[in-house]
Symmetry: C2
Subunit: 344 residues, 2 copies
DNA sequence: CTTCGATTTCGAACCGCTTCGATTGAAGAG
DNA sequence: CTCTTCAATCGAAGCGGTTCGAAATCGAAG
């Protein structure tokens, strides 16, 4: 019932505590005979060293911290998986904090990271975090931003070119003949969203007859998307956008469903572009054209930069990595899909 | 750059280390004046106690461990959220280990739980884990199974009546006129899957003219589902099942897509029932009839039982909670939906 | 002005492990 | 046979907190 400690192993093997530690962690310092004996004693007792004690002594935790906005979103789930890959290769574990779109939770996680003394943090920020990040830095905990860039340029980051993503989506719609575009997203405050809109406007600027109407929803669930789609269907055709850029696939799939349920045809009446290219985009009722972000690679790269920072080597030159978007064209915009694809 | 420790706070406040500790953790033992002084010193320095040191001394970590089969599946994501709710109410954090359908990873997490000395574990088992669970028990770490039951009856559990789920799905199909049912799932070894099949067979047994054909896929992704749907479409109509029960919604949505893409009508030619009622079930191309499991409640309840076990109180009577299924009828089986719903 | 008890503060041990310097013993050199 | 050298093993310090019992302080009662 009691925990098996290093003492128990030492006693069983008939050696001192320090010899057990050496045999297990630095076998070259101990005679083969004893290494063997200690190992078997440890196995028999099922000894597992207590991480807290190791950490206390070593001053390091073997942990990376990572916060993500919403783990239920496959984009972030993949990002985490990528980071875990890179970390485990370096023998570190990743402590994942899921903010669930909640600023308080996000800060909570950052504090936890400090308490457990993570060796570095990957942060995909949701709310404004400058003071917290500054503090981590003050504590000597390196931080790498993921899917975000630092305005002050102090923090390295791995991000995605959202302006290009928005532009790519808009250009695709324009090239398939759409003229009255709308951009549907939640929260103008979120940088990613702002930039995509900006990209869309940039693309529109090249065509005097193209307009971009921004529309804000409260959140980006498929339910809200559906409600919005129905609402949109109620507008008169002349007043209705004929091309939609949405801020993620959940929202987009909902919108498409809402439109169709009210008899609006997709893509004939309204073309829709999503964002993230999640698993369901390909098999939605109307397969969804979507902007693909290389989530897994982003997570992996971010972790690698962080690890380099931690090691103190080669940190500087890996400052800010920006990934480029890729448009996956499917039926929801299929009008002149092939022609568009070669354009983009 | 250096960590702020309790010593730094003590020095700044001009008191001893132990007084700082007392002022922070047991303020009633210290004069108000000093509590104030210590607090402000701690704030100014940004002192955060090191969790490893606290844990080492206290012998407890303030952590619950939880393993899930696949966090990307909303069913498990919700389960985790429920458990976190209950745990945080008790002041504990949840360390989540995502197995990603990988037995080795799952065991890894269990070992981590031992190393960090979690106070209890919620385990949603994927592979065979008896020896590991036995070991945790031997270490005095209480375990509660989630979405599983212990054959030996030693471990408390919160599960879902999968036999009833399978039966409910099959009865619904039968009552809408289907006769050649098929059950599509991955891995017969997984208990949940076996039981759902068993439930389906039970329902079929009441109707001499109804058959249930089990079909095994390698995994349950929508991609495989789609491939399988296309394959099914290639069968001659007479040879093809007219009612499908799938082991989750991802698979089901893929199958529906595959069928339709080959000109097979859903639900007219083949009706499909999914499992989990995920967000996309409602807005799939053909909205999906699905068996709903109360994931969040299950997670919450499991955590509550675990907490009771940890506290040593009231553990026994909360042995095995079994949740009942609910069928959400949508278009993918809509034939005689209303009549069926009143039946079931 | 003592004395005593209550209250507040402090010193030191301890949690489990790693690591450094010291000790032991055996082997080789003189 | 003694002295040195080196490898193998051990003892003890210390990581950063918490907590227990001792010490100090203070006020009130004698």
């Amino acid at each position: 019932m009691k925990r098996v400690g290093i003492r128990d192993v030492a006693q069983r093997a008939g050696v001192s505590i320090s010899t057990v530690s050496n045999a297990l962690n630095r076998p070259h310092m101990v005679s083969e005979r004893l290494v063997e004996r200690v190992r078997s004693a440890a196995d028999q007792l099922g000894y597992v060293p207590l991480q807290a004690a190791q950490q206390l002594r070593a001053g390091r935790s073997g942990l990376l911290g990572m916060t993500v906005i919403n783990i239920a979103n496959p984009f972030f789930a993949d990002m985490v998986a990528g980071a875990e890959d890179a970390a485990s290769r370096a023998g570190l574990r990743v402590l994942v904090g899921n903010s669930s779109d909640d600023v308080a939770k996000e800060r909570d996680h950052l504090e936890l990271f400090e308490r457990v003394q993570v060796e570095g943090a990957l942060v995909s920020p949701f709310g404004p975090l400058e003071p917290w990040l500054e503090r981590l830095r003050g504590r000597g905990i390196p931080v790498v931003l993921v899917d975000a860039v630092d305005d002050t340029g102090e923090l390295p980051s791995v991000s995605f070119d959202d302006v290009a993503g928005g532009r790519l989506a808009a250009e695709h719609l324009i090239s398939t003949g759409r003229r009255r575009l709308a951009f549907v997203g939640a929260r103008e405050e979120v940088r990613q969203v702002r930039e995509r809109l900006q990209g869309a406007r940039l693309a529109a600027a090249a065509h005097p007859d193209v307009t971009v109407e921004p529309i804000w929803t409260r959140r980006t669930t498929s339910d809200l998307g559906r409600a919005f789609g129905e609402q949109l269907a109620a507008r008169s055709p002349a007043d209705r956008p004929d091309g939609l850029i949405t801020s993620n696939d959940h929202l987009a799939i909902g919108v498409v469903h809402g439109l169709i349920s009210q008899g609006v045809r997709v893509p004939d009446d309204v073309a829709v572009v999503g964002y993230d290219d999640i698993e369901f985009a390909a098999i939605a009722g109307v397969p969804l054209t979507s902007v693909r972000q290389p989530a897994r690679e982003m997570g992996r790269t971010a972790a690698e930069i962080l690890l380099a920072r931690i090691a103190g080597t080669a940190g500087a030159e890996l400052g800010n990595v920006v990934y480029q978007p890729e448009l996956v064209v499917r039926a929801s915009t299929a009008g002149h899909a092939l022609r568009a694809a070669t354009h983009g």
